[in-house]
């Protein structure tokens, strides 16, 4: 009666398909995930994949969920202060999405589903541990969730565009800065004034600064 008996060592399975999808997404980006390319890697026909997976969206969400689950597993469950755990969770997700840029869009396309719920749960537990009143817990946890996912997705998009444009990070930041400096002086005073400091800024540090802002706001 065991349901999970694999019939062949090398038989197709949802897990194998998801693993190969992740490999493909990591090496060739979102446009690299193709049923034909996947079928070739799995030494099978394109149609076979549909026996284990509903469609491409389902596959992408499943791959995304696998990354999120692993990331949260690696984060500390521990005895640290709730604020400390939230910082660790936030940084873990930031780095994971940076390492797997395709996770960003995938997360956005699967709103109230499993990957998001996993994150919400972990954040919510810590918000509760911070002693936030019952009525405010959802708002606090979802503000953190939105900020973490939002910033991470944007950061990954930046990095990906950088890679697409040739790779030299400092050169690209320099180009952005000089494009900003060339904007109209009357219409874009703020952007012009920060253009110079932009190439030196640290995305990770800014991200953490935002977390700090929100944590401070939650703690009143």
């Amino acid at each position: 009666m065991m349901k999970n008996t694999p019939r062949r060592e090398d038989g197709l399975s949802r897990e194998r398909i998801i693993e190969e999808s992740i490999a493909l997404l990591d090496s060739s980006g979102e446009s690299g995930l193709t049923f034909r390319a996947l079928a070739e890697r799995l030494a099978t026909g394109a149609g076979a994949i549909y026996w284990h997976v509903a469609n491409k969206g389902d596959l992408l969400t499943a791959a995304c969920d696998a990354i999120v689950a692993r990331t949260l597993l690696a984060a500390p469950v521990a005895d640290a202060a709730p604020q400390e755990v939230i910082r660790a969770l936030a940084l873990g997700l930031f780095d994971a999405i940076d390492a797997h840029p395709w996770v960003g869009p995938a997360l956005t396309r699967a709103p109230l589903q499993m990957p998001m719920v996993r994150i919400l749960e972990r954040l919510g537990q810590q918000v509760r541990a911070m002693g936030v009143a019952e009525a405010g817990q959802f708002a606090a946890a979802s503000a953190l969730l939105s900020y973490i996912v939002g910033v991470s997705v944007q950061n990954a998009a930046n990095a990906q565009m950088g890679r697409a444009l040739g790779g030299d990070r400092t050169a690209i930041l320099g180009e952005v800065a000089s494009a900003w400096s060339a904007l109209d002086a009357d219409e874009y005073p703020f952007t012009r004034s920060i253009a110079a400091q932009f190439p030196q800024h640290d995305d990770r540090a800014d991200f953490l600064a935002g977390i700090e802002l929100i944590l401070r706001g939650i703690a009143r």
Copy 2:
């Protein structure tokens, strides 16, 4: 020597192409924007569009920028307190992205480009007006930017999934709530505890609450 002399009233132009793209995106979603469908609406051939637009990504970014520019134009420039202006900008963008859900992904795919810069500028001006020290202005403005765009994108994705699933908002929220209630009690205590209150929550209000959190953090 006038550069902008249109040769025919009904001639193709970047502006006309962008307007029709927006109409197409609004009525049929992101998958509805097709060079063939667009060519039909414009009574021209698919290839003609490439004379005015580099590629599909360029077109999507331009359509997105048009929406963002209009939204910011409609927002108050006024004599109100900076916090008040930030709230108004935030809500305006939230509502615009809700009304044009395709703007979310489009914004994300055009990181440090024009649409984002427009928003950053407006927020930055207000952050400066709040009296934030020079060194902290970029971090504060970009935290606001990330939060606003991140939450709006997710909210629009939710709404869009709702529409795709049949439209009945309360029914869908109810289903999400009952799916959350059915999660494992040991692994998902937080999610289960908020499941009941979830269908009554107000996305817009939660969004504003998060803005308040960040503003409070910025003001120290």
